[in-house]
Symmetry: C2
Subunit: 479 residues, 2 copies
């Protein structure tokens, strides 16, 4: 076929994979929810090669699935099953183009993993303040295309808030050279914000300028046991009133989800007495010697006052980095523990903070009514109102029977979230998994505006088809 020949001529033979043994890793999503069959997987090594490949695909009318680390939780980068689409992997665009300690910015290519980018910043004494569980595999291009969130958004915002400039290859192969590293620039529409979070449907990000922070030299962390979600909100307010700038993370874990970690992960111990709710507080600062002790003292003060006020029943302050990492291990092993505990259903939801107590109660009650014995294991970024309201099969029951209940369970949770003016996808995006919800939650004017932007930037609909937008016939049926 001539497109493949042209691609080989443009990129080199080794950059065009068609052998199923080689393309398999690019053809299914991380959760194995979707599987496809690409015409080819191409691996350009420069922006210029991306341009040549996209131009050839445009001429041939072939759709492109841009792919980074392929760590989507929602089937965000899977080719169709009919062998007609090209997977374009950015993994070989791995250069650090520039890093500027005066300006606190770095210019990295799309294929650099988030962890590698963090390390590049740290080497120069700076902090790239974005941290997600999959950072070892997730690549900057995908992180931006999905507006990733994670653990430090409370203090520094989502991926969107860290982007100053982008280089983007458009659907027709033109390049938008928007790699500006300016902290302020009001010269027309904020195009970078249009591409960030667009899930590869409007253009292919090949490089980005990211805003950094001064390096962190002091940390203080605590693991807290709490009687209720209301008290967790009271503790958050107390911490913010004391030192909002130092509060980098406020992570929630339900008693049920911590129990799963204790049961299924080796080498983990609960640092506080048992409780229905836990919070991991992480504070950080930059400063000379003595800053760490001052930070620790302030945190201890706040926790002491919270204990007295009954907001906490117990708290452990990390005495060293090893203890701090042990606290974080409990938080980070949640997904793995749930996997080992049996079949599970994930809900990545957000609500206004004040609605969190009601969310937890009402959603749990609705799920228990549907599946007696269901294990309710919510955890997540409470400081952002973002909870992974995950559900694990009853002990001893069949996994398949539980998963057969996925739809009613997700709908039951969704109904509560919707009543509380929340979102059905706080940080994971829409992908293919949640397109069906776009019609009912974001339909009408909002979805129409999105379609108009899609048509303006990718009129032929050749960039990552099937994500974000519900199929037209589904829309008609719903409308």
């Amino acid at each position: 076929m001539s497109l493949l020949d042209d691609l080989r001529a443009a990129l080199g033979d080794r950059a065009v994979l068609t052998d199923p043994a080689e393309t398999a890793g690019y053809s299914s999503d991380w959760r194995r929810l979707y599987s496809g069959l690409p015409l080819a997987v191409i691996r350009p090594s420069s922006t210029d090669q991306v341009v040549r490949a996209v131009t050839l695909c445009a001429k041939a009318g072939v759709a492109i699935i841009p792919q980074g680390g392929n760590t989507s939780m929602v089937g965000g980068a899977v080719p169709s099953v009919d062998g007609t689409e090209i997977v374009l992997s950015l993994e070989r665009l791995r250069a650090l183009r520039a890093i500027d300690p005066v300006d606190l910015t770095m210019t990295v290519e799309a294929g650099v993993t988030l962890a590698a980018a963090q390390a590049m910043a740290a080497e120069q004494g700076m902090l790239l303040p974005l941290s997600i569980s999959s950072e070892g595999s997730a690549q900057i291009g995908g992180v931006l295309a999905t507006n990733a969130g994670g653990n430090n958004t409370l203090r520094f915002g989502n991926a969107r808030d860290l982007v100053l400039g982008l280089e983007v290859v458009l659907a027709d192969g033109q390049v938008w050279h928007g790699l500006r590293h300016l902290h302020k620039d009001n010269t027309g529409y904020a195009l970078r914000q249009v591409f960030v979070g667009s899930e590869g449907t409007l253009g292919i990000i090949t490089a980005a300028v990211l805003r950094l922070q001064p390096g962190v030299t002091a940390r203080a962390s605590a693991f807290c046991a709490l009687p209720s979600v209301e008290q967790a909100l009271a503790l958050l307010a107390r911490l913010r009133a004391r030192d909002a700038g130092a509060l980098h993370a406020f992570e929630y874990m339900s008693g049920g989800s911590v129990d799963l970690v204790l049961a299924h992960i080796e080498g983990v111990a609960r640092p506080v007495e048992a409780a229905a709710h836990y919070v991991l507080v992480d504070c950080a600062a930059s400063g000379p010697e003595g800053a760490a002790q001052a930070l620790q003292d302030r945190l201890e003060d706040v926790l002491g006052a919270a204990l007295e006020a009954g907001e906490l029943t117990d708290a452990a302050l990390a005495q060293n980095e090893a203890q701090r990492l042990a606290f974080w291990k409990i938080r980070e092993e949640h997904a793995e523990a749930q996997k080992r505990a049996g079949a599970s259903i994930k809900n990545d939801i957000s609500v206004p903070l004040a609605a969190l107590p009601e969310l937890m109660d009402a959603a749990a009650a609705a799920c228990r009514a549907l599946v007696p014995g269901i294990r309710i294991a919510p955890f997540g970024h409470l400081g952002d109102g973002n909870i992974h309201f995950n559900l694990v099969q009853p002990t001893g029951a069949g996994g398949a029977a539980f998963l057969a209940q996925s739809e009613p369970l997700m709908e039951a949770v969704g109904e509560v979230v919707r009543r509380l003016s929340g979102s059905f996808s706080a940080e994971h995006g829409v992908g293919r998994l949640k397109t069906g919800m776009m019609q009912s939650w974001r339909g009408g004017v909002e979805l129409d505006l999105m379609r108009r932007i899609k048509s303006a930037l990718d009129p032929a609909g050749r960039l990552n088809p099937r994500v974000i937008f519900p199929a037209k016939n589904a829309e008609d049926a719903a409308g």
Copy 2:
């Protein structure tokens, strides 16, 4: 004429102004650079009235100039001279719809002034961290439509970074109900980011959800004298390394511009010895009793070390709020002092921070070569790389003769900025004043992408014509 009758029927007679005595205040910009003649000025009092008015204008094919406090520096909201356009003032949409101390958010209507919104937040113990010189008149709708910047962007970002949700009336009268107050929501394109900074060309913002911060209870400020811009950057790095979270403002003033303030504004005294460069440092924190002293002590420490390192030649620490306000008065009177000093030319530019020393030297030299005796009076938000590189006529020379040199002077500055990869409008936007620069600075793919988005959302081009985009024939001529 029937449109006016229809508008009167929909909004009430008093909401439709046609008497030139009444419409004059809405028909010129604040700087008196542009003046127009509206068909009418309409003042709806609710989103519903905005919808009815926009629908009627759409049916009649009449263009709309959305207007807030009318404080644009670039002619951002002026009707045409031929009496065919409607000015739609949002000033009567003044409600605080909601404020949430748990979530740290407020929902305000477009016509609330920024100062009033700040006061509403402060009343509930919170901080709306956006501050600009015109905040007493500028309204939230305009502040968002122009992505306003100001004094605290170093710590909290531009207007764009504070917006969680929007309510927008579209060109055809449809409403996008996007008033979500969620800190995380990845359900499709970030439409709010498309409207923020679009200068009223894509839709009319009628209300917004803004992100707030805990109230500030402690402040420490210093006025510093420095030998060079390089040393100002060194001081900034030193402050960031010590306590980045507390650094709310880092404002630069050249010796020449402070001299103008001392000469033309009453009741102002220089708090430090004379120097070629000055910086106003503002630190803030939330915390209990003792926090203010701790903040003051930390700032004093840093300044002591900077003095020892030769980064400063002198510094004054504000001993009380009155002194702090006196420091800020020097900074805030810059525009007024320059006005009184004679004719002046404004350049609102930004460059990467490391390029600031070269910018200052090269731009000053270029201007002096063109106009001997010219007074170079730069000041601004150095921490963001954003300098108002303002130029004042030579003493005793004619103002008109000086202004006749505007174009070559602005071009000379622009040439330096461009060589340093900067922006010709850091925070004031494009408006009508700078459309000519869009072609040469942002032309090609970037401007084409903006045009595509404009066509997708306002196909008939009836929302704020003539701003941002260069006239087609100018484009052809340049292209």
